[in-house]
């Protein structure tokens, strides 16, 4: 079927994918309708522009890992920015923990070259046929780049993996300056590599959008807010840069664009471990030390990791596992009941509760969280211990959503594009397109 298309449509051979982290479909649609994004507005008329949804939990590391492997978390093994060993050590899964092959490693078997710029969860960088510049959570640029001979160039232009997010709380003006600066550098590098490298698959990810949303999403919604104009200007810049970037490239590629999850306004943070504690599922060794390390695992039935991943303290899965396989069903149903009943001044907090078997499959099912909570818009789930109440106000203005991510693809291959319903499908679309 695909080679048929290939012959008869004289198919373009390459793919450019622009990822924009955390951009809601409805936000782009709105900005386009208001005439704020002239280039994308025109472009999106030429193809399929639609809403897709992300895997759960709806955070970047999980979603981009799902995209880049075309597999679900049960198969690729990334369930969050944090994970827990059987001895209750928290660790930070990274690219080395990814247990399925990323797209470009399939492509290189067919001698196809890839350039990957700023894709989250690809740190530390490893060998690639082409170029890989890792994205969030890269700690050291020296280990975020393959091949290494690109380093002097990146350093010379002041390329940075991420904006300084600590500014988001301290100094919004500086934060915005950093945001625009990082965006500019990102495109400078993209423009260079798109010319220097003879690529087949080229991917650039913009992550500043996600940061902008975390700290300033309410400024988008409220036109009278102090940073409304700056918010819109950031998107105008993205529009300009993409236009300028694509202008210089011979049109022999399929253009795709996507985000990894949606975004919405946050109203309250909801502290999942505090709920488990207050209902007797989680115990601390002492009340002075309410932290993950302070959990008394010999007495704890369930605990949570960010955002709403609940782990039963199962025998076999954990060193001091307390829950027997036979008790599992009962505890799961108790926890589900507890969270479904949870409300804030009468308003429901939890939209969906999934047991791992319902949303994951693969070798890593046994180490997946047992229960995954999906909250209603506005209620941001947290596993942190920094608050002792269940609900708290926050300086953050935005939170992720599973629904309302976006996808765009040039229309020539409608048959392929029409099947894209979720983030995972985009990875598989690329593999199909290159017939690997």
């Amino acid at each position: 079927m695909i080679s048929f298309l290939n012959k008869f449509l004289k198919r373009k051979k390459k793919i450019i994918l622009i990822g924009i982290d955390g951009v809601p479909f409805t936000l782009l649609k709105d900005l386009i309708e208001r005439g704020k994004l002239p280039f994308l507005g025109k472009k999106f008329k030429e193809g399929i522009f639609k809403e897709i949804y992300s895997p759960l939990p709806e955070i970047s590391s999980v979603s981009w890992s799902t995209f880049m492997t075309g597999k679900n978390p049960g198969e690729h093994g990334i369930f969050g920015f944090t994970d827990v060993s059987n001895g209750y050590n928290l660790f930070f899964p990274n690219f080395a923990s990814l247990r399925a092959e990323p797209i470009w490693e399939h492509l290189q078997e067919k001698d196809k070259k890839s350039v990957i710029i700023n894709l989250p969860s690809t740190y530390p960088a490893r060998r690639i046929n082409g170029v890989l510049i890792s994205g969030f959570v890269a700690v050291d640029l020296n280990r975020a780049v393959f091949p290494q001979n690109l380093l002097p160039y990146l350093n010379s232009i002041g390329y940075k993996v991420d904006v300084d997010n600590s500014l988001g709380k301290k100094n919004i003006e500086e934060f915005l300056k950093d945001l625009f600066d990082v965006l500019e550098k990102r495109f400078i590098v993209a423009k260079k590599l798109v010319k220097d490298i003879n690529w087949d698959f080229f991917m650039l990810t913009i992550t500043g959008s996600d940061r902008l949303h975390h700290f300033l999403f309410k400024n988008f919604l409220d036109e009278n807010s102090p940073y409304h104009e700056e918010f819109i200007r950031y998107y105008k810049k993205i529009d300009d840069y993409i236009s300028d970037f694509l202008m210089g490239i011979k049109n022999d590629y399929l253009l795709l664009m996507m985000s990894d999850h949606g975004f919405t306004e946050v109203r309250k943070e909801v502290f999942v471990n505090n709920i488990l504690f207050e209902n007797g599922f989680l115990k601390f060794k002492s009340h002075e030390n309410r932290s993950f390390e302070g959990i008394d695992f010999s007495k704890t039935t369930a605990f949570a990791l960010d955002p709403g991943r609940i782990y039963l303290n199962l025998r076999g899965r954990f060193e001091r596992g307390k829950v027997d396989g036979r008790e599992r069903e009962k505890i799961v149903s108790d926890i589900k009941e507890l969270f479904y009943k949870l409300n804030f001044e009468g308003e429901k907090i939890i939209k969906n509760i999934f047991e791992k078997e319902e949303i994951y499959e693969g070798s890593f099912l046994s180490v997946a969280p047992d229960i995954i909570l999906q909250s209603e818009d506005g209620f941001d789930l947290k596993a942190s211990f920094r608050e002792i109440e269940i609900f708290a106000d926050t300086h953050f203005q935005g939170m992720h959503t599973r629904e309302n991510a976006f996808f765009y693809g040039d229309s020539e291959f409608e048959d392929l594009l029409i099947n894209v319903k979720e983030v995972k499908d985009v990875g598989n679309l690329i593999l199909d397109y290159f017939e690997v």
């Binding site: 930070f92 690219f95 969030f136 700690v139 960010d306 942190s384």
Partner: protein, 199 residues
């Protein structure tokens, strides 16, 4: 490294011995101490003389469990590959051993009859062998095993990979390419995640 017990359970011909040997080889190559207790071999020494009644089967599994316990607490990875059809005795071993990973080697009876690696199913079906698990004797599936391999659908290589990666992920064996962060790097990651509200 701390030892643990990797316990394969499943019907005859499901693939316990095959997978136990593959895992043994891999762990030895990674420099770990490994011992395999295969049902077939155990029955010729440790459990010599025991038959296939429920009592004898339980006694056999209890003995294997005991040896696994001794090995595990001395830093050895003990791998048991025995049908172990009864849940209660497997769970008893689990309780005693603590660091215990149960692998359910799953395969339908129809498929096992077709495979009939040792020609035993033919004999069981004709009545020549009595008390044969899956034919004329019960097999109780694990309720919550750490790992399930479906050998009807997976190749041995796939099942093997699944076991190894899960052991890595659960922290029982060190992952091969896991990029361990230094304390300083870990601190940086924490700060980055914290500033976005993830910790």
């Amino acid at each position: 490294m701390e030892g643990f017990t990797l316990w394969f359970t499943g019907m005859s011909g499901a693939g316990k011995s095959t997978l136990a040997r593959m895992v043994e080889k891999e762990l030895l190559e990674r420099g770990l101490k490994v011992e395999v207790l295969d049902g077939d071999i155990v029955r010729t020494n440790l459990s010599k003389g025991l038959g296939f009644s429920k009592e004898d089967r339980d006694e056999n599994i209890r003995r294997i469990g005991f040896v696994c316990q001794l090995l595990s607490r001395n830093g050895v990875v003990a791998i048991a590959a025995a049908i172990s059809p009864y849940r209660e005795i497997r769970d008893e071993n689990r309780r005693k051993i603590g660091r215990f990973v149960e692998v359910y080697v799953k395969c339908s009876v129809d498929k096992l009859i077709e495979r009939d690696v040792k020609g035993l199913y033919k004999k069981a079906l004709s009545g020549e062998i009595k008390n044969f698990t899956g034919i004329s004797d019960p097999y109780e599936e694990p309720l919550n095993p750490e790992i399930v391999v479906d050998t009807e659908k997976e190749t041995p290589e796939e099942s093997f990979k699944k076991i190894i990666t899960t052991l890595e992920k659960m922290g029982y064996i060190p992952p091969l390419e896991m990029d361990d962060y230094s304390e300083e790097e870990e601190e940086k990651i924490k700060n980055k995640l914290e500033s976005l509200g993830y910790l």
